[in-house]
Symmetry: C2
Subunit: 240 residues, 2 copies
């Protein structure tokens, strides 16, 4: 099983993706939101690129079961039900609901890898379960950090490295790492005693602290809060 | 001074490059060859993309001062004077000569960043001098690992991280790292006690060992063998 990490958030060619499983990772904060909301009972999440698209799509569903979430510039979008803090997505609000989500980096990532064989949603909150699911599938794997406005994001690479750490310990000699996968694994080892430290080094983490959202960093750094591994298929994210 | 690292070998847009200095790094082995050959007295080096272009260009110069070097599949090209091992480029053979070079990754990299304000050639062999030259210039900096057939290459990122380590120690608070620059710096710290270990982890390093070229790895891992920092300008690499 080959494990690769895409260090810049650009979708590889379809012929590369078609035989692979992909794990989309946007620790701060889209995939943390998605994993958290699904673990709290959300029925499905539809990631869309633009705010207009989110409003348009919401009108096509029953209002009582449909909620809007996401951010621009890390802030809640006017007219939306939720921002992009996983803490907002509590069971009382999301259970049984459809969520339409638009964020700067994370929701784009799903569309960039949409031709992959299988697409999972990863974060620190479900990192162990994500690795187990990848081993069960046994397919070559691409970890896809969503990046920071087109650039490499440290915290997503560290999370990818933690998935790889699980794979190596559970998959042994069957796991072959590309150079980027080896690098992500080394970066994880650098921060494994204190994952939040990676957020304090990263550009996006520092920006969220600057905007008064430091509590989200603490929340998103929680490891194995849930065993849910959401799946993105035909435009919709659902529990596996 | 902002320091960035381009983790995938794709040239950023011209408007990004036009105000920046770029250091091209292809430790295994193109930039190690270039730095070594210039330090041994080569007059100039012209990096070209294809083997045909190398032969064509050679015919336009006097035969007695022009040599052909490079590789395909890590092997010397038939009809060329040199392969891609820095050890071949000794003073007796290269002093005062023009060298036309074509390699799989490194020579492409120069053309990918050709719109940058200033383009330097970096490797472990001249890492300290490269960092000093960057600080003297004082421009925002992009370290450009040449990669491994379009993929991230660990050894180039580690070398970039060593340049950054010098910049931080000599430039202090004036040095601002992007996430990829921070990651490269962490990767350097992982291997600083034993740089060759990075070659043993990397795909390209393992391939060279497999092809019997392990001596080149030892050669390319030498630190600060020279103070030469070659410059690429208008298609030609020369001593600064």
């Amino acid at each position: 099983m080959e494990v690769d990490v895409q260090f810049l958030p650009m979708g590889p060619p379809s012929e590369f993706l078609s035989s692979r499983a992909v794990v989309v990772i946007d620790v701060l904060r889209a995939t943390s939101v998605i994993v958290h909301a699904i673990s709290r009972g959300a029925m499905e999440i539809i990631p869309v690129i633009t705010v207009d698209e989110a409003f348009r799509l919401a009108k096509t569903f029953p209002a009582e079961t449909t909620l809007l979430g996401g951010e621009r510039g890390s802030q809640k979008i006017p007219g939306f039900d939720f921002g992009n803090s996983p803490r907002e997505y509590v069971a009382e609000k999301v259970r049984g609901k459809r969520l339409i989500l638009t964020t700067t980096n994370g929701t784009r990532a799903f569309h960039a890898v949409s031709s992959a064989r299988e697409i999972l949603v990863g974060s620190f909150l479900n990192v162990g379960a994500t690795a187990r699911r990848c081993l069960e599938m046994g397919k070559d794997l691409l970890l896809f950090p969503s990046g920071d406005e087109g650039n490499f994001s440290l915290e997503d690479a560290v999370c990818g490295g933690m998935v790889i750490n699980h794979l190596i310990h559970q998959g042994g000699d069957s796991i072959h790492l590309t150079d980027s996968a080896s690098a992500a694994h080394f970066l994880y080892q650098q921060f494994k005693q204190n994952l939040i430290e990676a957020f304090h080094v990263s550009h996006h983490g520092k920006d969220l602290i600057h905007k008064g959202l430091e509590e989200d960093l603490v929340y998103c750094a929680q490891v194995d809060l849930t065993n849910v591994v959401p799946v993105f298929r035909e435009g919709v994210i659902k529990p596996a």
